[in-house]
Every structure is written in C-alpha cells, then in structure tokens.
Amino acid sequence: MDRRRFLTVLGATGGAAAAASACDIGPEPTEHLVPYVVPPENQVPGIATYYATTCRECAAGCGLHAKVREGRVIKLEGNPESPINQGRLCSRGQAALQGLYNPDRVTDPMARGANGQWQKLTWDDAVGRLQAQVKQARGKGIAFVTGLESGSFGELVDAWMKEIGGRHVTYEPFAFEALREGNRIAFGTAAIPSYDFASARYILSFGADFMETWLSPVGYQNAFTRAHAFEAGRDGSMAKFVYVGPRLSLTGMSADEWIVPKPGTEFMLALAMASVILTERLAPPPPDALRLQHLLPGPERIAGSVGVEAGKIQRLARDFAASKGGLAVAGGIAAQYGSGALLVAAANVLNYVAGQVGKTVKFGPNHALEAAGSFKHLADLVADMRAEKISLLLVHGANPGHSLPAAFSEALGHVGYKVSLASYWHETAAAADLVLPDFHPLEQWNDSRPQAGVYALQQPVMQPVFPNTRHAGDVLLQVAGKSGGFKDYLQTRWRALHVRYGHGRSFEDFWNDALQHGGIYSEAPAQTVRLGPEISRLMGGAADTSLQLTTLIVFPSVALHDGRGAKSFPIRSRKSPGTAGWRCIPTPRPSGSSPTATSYSSSRPMERCVRPSGSRRVSARTSSRSPRGRDTRRTADMRRTDPSMPSSS
C-alpha cells in the first residue's frame, strides 16, 4: 500500500477504521510491465545515463548534464567542464524539463483555414504549403526572425535567406544594445568582452544585474561567490562589491554598499570617479587616457546632479583604484535610459584609467550576444511589414508578439503569410497562418558559440516527447530542397573545427569526444583595445544635465526572463526576489479552455515601477502599483482577434 492509497482509504473510512483494518483493504491494484520492442541503446533499466548538452533557456549557453532514466530525461545539472557555468545551473535551466514535458506544446503541424479555424496537417502537406509560399513570395519580401543562433542553425537560416532573397533578423529581447554601443563609443568595437569577476577585488555594478539576467548570470554568480569569499592562498580580504542603481535587485542585495544616484545620471558618477583616478594619479594611466584628464567632470561639478556627495565619489574612486583589481560593469536597468550607452562607455573609461582593461575586462573571449541583431533592424522590419513589403514572415525561437510593443502584432496583420516554427502556443504562433512544431532543445541536434573559443554542442538526450514534432533545421533543409538532415549539416560544419581542434584524431573520435564533453572549450586570443575616436561624444553627454522629471524603470524578472519562463509552472509560481512581497501572480488557465496564447500572456516578462527621479529612496511597495495595463490589454486583444485556438490534443 503506498502513501497515496493509504490516505485515500483514510479519507473514505476514517482514521481509526483504516488503522484497524489496514490489512483488509484488498490487494494492490494490478501492475503491468510493458517491455521494450527494441531496447534503447546505452540504457539499463534502473541505472541513469548522463548526456552532455547545452542549455538554451537564455543566450548564456551553459553546459548541461542531462540525467536520463529508462529513456526519459529526469534532471538537469551544470556541466563542470563548461567554462561558461562551471557545473552550476540556475532555476530557469533546471526548469527546462518543464518546457520539454509541457502538455501545452504544439504536437502537430497546424494551419489556419479559410474560416479561421486551426486544422491539423500532415508534414508532407505542411512542407508543401511552405514551399509553395516561398516560391510565391520570392522577390516580394521574405523575412526570417530567429532568436540568437550563434551556431549552425543560424548559418543555415543565413544561407537559405541568401538563396531565396530574404533577410535574417536575430532578435533577443535582452540584446544588450546599450552595452554594445557603449563599447563601440569607448573602444571602437561593439564586442561584449569577458568580465572576470573571480579575480576582481573591487566590483562596481552600475545597474548590471549579473546575478539575474545580465549576459551569463550563472557563471558570474559562481565567479562572484569566489571573489567575495575568504580563500586560502589569497590576501586576507574578500572583494568589495558596490551596487549603483535605483532599485535594490537580487544583485544589489548581495552588495556591501548600495549607492542610489538619480536615475539616468549613473554615467556622470563613473566619469567623476575616472576623473579622480586620473587627477590624483591613483593608477598608472594609459598614455591615451591622459588627454581625458581635463575633459572629465570632477566630483564637485556633478555631485548635485547625481545626488551623491563629492567626498563619497572620491572615496569610491580611491578604493576602486587601490584594490588593483577593480571591475566596473554597467547594464540592466541603469542602461535603459537615453544615456544607457554613455553609461557603458563611462564604465569602460573607469576600467581603462584604472588599468583594468585586459585584466578584469578581457576583450577576445567575447560573448555571443555581440552577434544579436539590433533593435534598428527590427524596427526596419516592422516598418516594412506595415508597408506590406513583407509577404512571407518566418519566426523561430523568438516570441516578438509578446515581448515587442503592440506595433509588431499590428504589423503582423499586413504580412501575407506568417509561419511560426514553435514549440508552444505563444502569441506569435497564435497569430501565424502555419505553425510547425519544433523540437525542444533537449530533443535536438544543434550547436552554439556562447563565447569566442567555446563551441557548445547540443545532442538529443531522449526521443521526442511528441512524436509528430520535427527539428526546424530538418524542416528548413527539406523546404530548401537539400538532401540530408540537420545532423549531417551540423557535422559538415564541425569538420572545419576538426581540422583546427582534431589534433590528428579521426573525425569520429573528435566528434564523440566533443559530444561526451559537451563541446570544445578553447581559449580565445586576447585583443588589446584603445580608446576610440568617439570618446569625445561621452564628454558632450556629460555636459547635458537636462533630465526628465519622471523615469520609467523596467527591470527584467529573474524567473521569467523575457517572458519565455512563463511556459513553466514552477517558474511562474517562484518567488520573485527583491520585490518586497509584490510579484506577478501566476494565473492558471481557465478550466476547460484550450491551451492558448492567453495563458502565457498573463504573466508578464517585466515588472515595472515608476518613481520620480528626484526622490532618494526606492520604495518598491509604493512604486509597484504602477501600470500592469499594457500586457493585459494586449492579451485581451489577442483573445478577440483569435477566437479559435486549436487544442493541442
């Protein structure tokens, strides 16, 4: 008798009766043993098998070890060999399984019929329809929107779009545009460098939530933990962490000191600190930085606008330089105003004058997000869609219908034919004409390059949960009339890596070795950067102290990320840290309704708060009563325009 059955009996007969007659409740229900027809390879019943693969829940690209029992993946952990996450994994990565087994997944190819009703298609029919649409749309505007695909799938899309005269737009809601633009202003390169938190002795974060969503949070958390701890073999002190930003996020809560400047003026604080370091010669200045000395604003000049006393700024600057291991990072909520790129550039200048660029800030092993498309490409696409210049739009691995303003959803209406290669019925899939169910990342072959020198492989860790789904790569190859599947395509590309990293082994040995370790981990050569020509722009920005009266602060959710976490129920019911008891409440699907996009829209990807820029203290409670409205409205729109969503069964 198991516990559940005991409780059932207990409930039916009352405790005493059940305890007295526990032996009289009859035999156990008959169990059945279902044998395999053909036993799966490498599987021993009762013993777990582990496969190395890569997490695709965000663009960080952490290495995974998937625990598989009886052909079913049951647990994910970080791959200790991966330099990205060093064996750690965040809650969103852990919850990837919830996405895999999600009952709301798209199970069959679907097309919207003439009456707006969804109908199931066979794969032959679906591929045939797509081929016909591609043929028809040639020369009339074809666009393919994907998430960040830094590996073979991205190249396949690029190649195919080139062939049929379309364009490929990569879209990540957290694309860190300000970061790239700031690096371009400061150093003339739009790359995202590697930040060495582990060896930093003084960490200064200007709004960058590097423990939540900023770039590669798992790796940074791990490195920060090491820097912020007493460790044998190091001088007796632990690194100091100062957080600068208007909202005390999870990252901010881990700091030793919290500085609250007026929102939008963080860059002035960074410049003033750089000025102190240069004028007081706290670090040997790089020769090309000396010309900045008279351009940078001193702490006295900006103290009023920033709202931090000049003495405090001087102290921060002296500590930063004296630590000989300063690391200033900027991003997140502090980089989303008009001055966002300036802030990143200013933090770079601070690192540069302290002599830390090349030490704690390393250009060379750059982050993959440098390849993400810019919002300008996306805005151009939306404008073209609205002008009816796009007759075929394909979307894969992104949900712009949810994470972009309503302008995108409106513009969708002007597109001739919309195809969504999706795993879930999200907003974009719901607005499409043809939905092709894609494999979950744990079911597919793929690769990515999360950081220069790191080639992470994805391999299927189990058979597809829903047998009538297909890898988007296989579908594209078929539509493009190419022979072979996506695995062959991937291996062809890896033959080039075999030449570089094979060390004389056969390709099979090299490939199996890479699969076993989750990819190839090599060191990317370091690049030296010098201040770029546009650095004077920064000084111009510093002079402009006109600020808006009210600042909108939108901060990403550690659990839901850009909204993609909403498909997983444990993630939706997870406490959101740093929101003072207020958080988004998961809304269960109304009973009896079909799995529609509305169930995903109800949890918002971002939590918003507004506060006047002049106020000194953040009060999450009062500010949190701010607009919930827009998403809800969009949800309502979606419900109106799509009355007939299919049931996935």
């Binding site: 008798m1 198991d2 516990r3 156990e28 008959t30 169990e31 059945h32 043993l33 279902v34 044998p35 395999y36 027809v37 053909v38 036993p39 021993v44 019943p45 009762g46 013993i47």
Partner: protein, 188 residues
C-alpha cells in the same frame, strides 16, 4: 530443440544458431526435467498473462540461463524485462512444436512486428517505499540464487508469487545471514 525447429531448413538453422542461447545451442535434451503438456491453463497458479510464456520450457527444459533474458540483474536494481527483440531473436526460427505453442509464438512474432508490446501482469511487486537492489543480492548469492525469492521457476508453467515479500520475510533472511537490518538499508 531440434524437434521444435523442425519447420526450418536445417542448414539455415545451423547458420543462425549462433544467435541462440548457449544451452539451446548445444541441443542437449534436458537432463532432469521435461515440461508437461498443459491442457487446462485455468487451473494454473499465478495470474494469467497476455501471452502464455512458459518459464518451465525455457528455463527448465531448455536450460536457458535466467540472465539470458533478465540480463541487467547483476548490474542494476532492476532485473530487466526482456525486450521483444530478445524473444524474436530465437522465435523468428523457432515456431513451436504443438498447435498451442505455435499459437502463442505467433502472438510474440506479431507483437514484435506490429510493435504492440504485451502488457505482462506483474507478479512480484514491492511497495514504493522499499528498495530492493537486485544486483547486490546476486553479487552475494550468485546468479543461481533467483530461486531463493522467486521459487523454482524452472518448474512453473505460469509464474506465481512464491514468497510473501513482506518485511518479516526479508528480515528473517537478513537475520539468518547476519547482514544489516538497518531501516535505511531498504527504506530510503
């Protein structure tokens, strides 16, 4: 053995015999046991199975080792229910000597070819709060020790539950052999 594979060409049979279990390959007649002809299956002990698989013929008469089919018993907590592929490995050649055998073997072949697995009725089941790692017991007692808990399956036309599998029965053996009776040994 030779009799039951009579409907197959002898040359083909010899060529393919390599795939068959060791005891079956020797073609020797079972020394001590001849499986009876069963006319009334209703009187047999144990639950009725979707296919009338006779352990007494396979293990008793043909002397196929238990591990030929339950081949993960020495390495895993689970002994392993043989995949249909294992059945088909022999029964693509062996068609059965009597009409009733032939009918049952036909079911196996159809199940394999149509990929519709039979749902065996579980005979030996433990509650979810008890762990019984087969491999440790086999390691200590040897690969012939299956009979200790499962009874002499070699003479069972239809398998039935031989031991009570209750805790007292487990502990009794642990006491006799002077091995640990720690609660968390099994309840973890």
């Amino acid at each position: 053995m030779t009799k039951r594979s009579g409907n197959v060409g002898a040359g083909v049979a010899i060529a393919l015999l390599i795939a068959l279990p060791a005891a079956a390959q020797t073609g020797q007649s079972a020394p001590g046991y001849k499986a009876p002809v069963i006319s009334d299956t209703g009187r047999l002990k144990g639950p009725r199975q979707p296919i009338f698989f006779r352990h007494d013929i396979h293990v008793g008469q043909d002397q196929i080792p238990c591990l030929y089919c339950h081949n993960t018993v020495t390495i895993s907590s689970e002994p392993g229910i043989p995949a249909l592929q294992t059945c088909f490995g022999c029964h693509q050649l062996i068609g059965g000597s009597t009409p009733s055998h032939q009918a049952e073997i036909k079911k196996v072949r159809e199940a394999f070819l149509t990929k519709k697995q039979p749902e065996w009725v579980r005979v030996h089941a433990l509650p979810g709060f008890v762990h019984f790692p087969h491999q440790r017991h086999i390691k200590v007692l040897g690969t012939d020790a299956c009979v200790t808990c499962h009874g002499d399956v070699r003479t069972m036309p239809q398998v039935y539950q031989f031991a009570t599998l209750k805790m007292g029965w487990c502990v009794n053996c642990h006491v006799q052999r002077n091995v640990s009776r720690d609660c968390t040994l099994c309840h973890y």
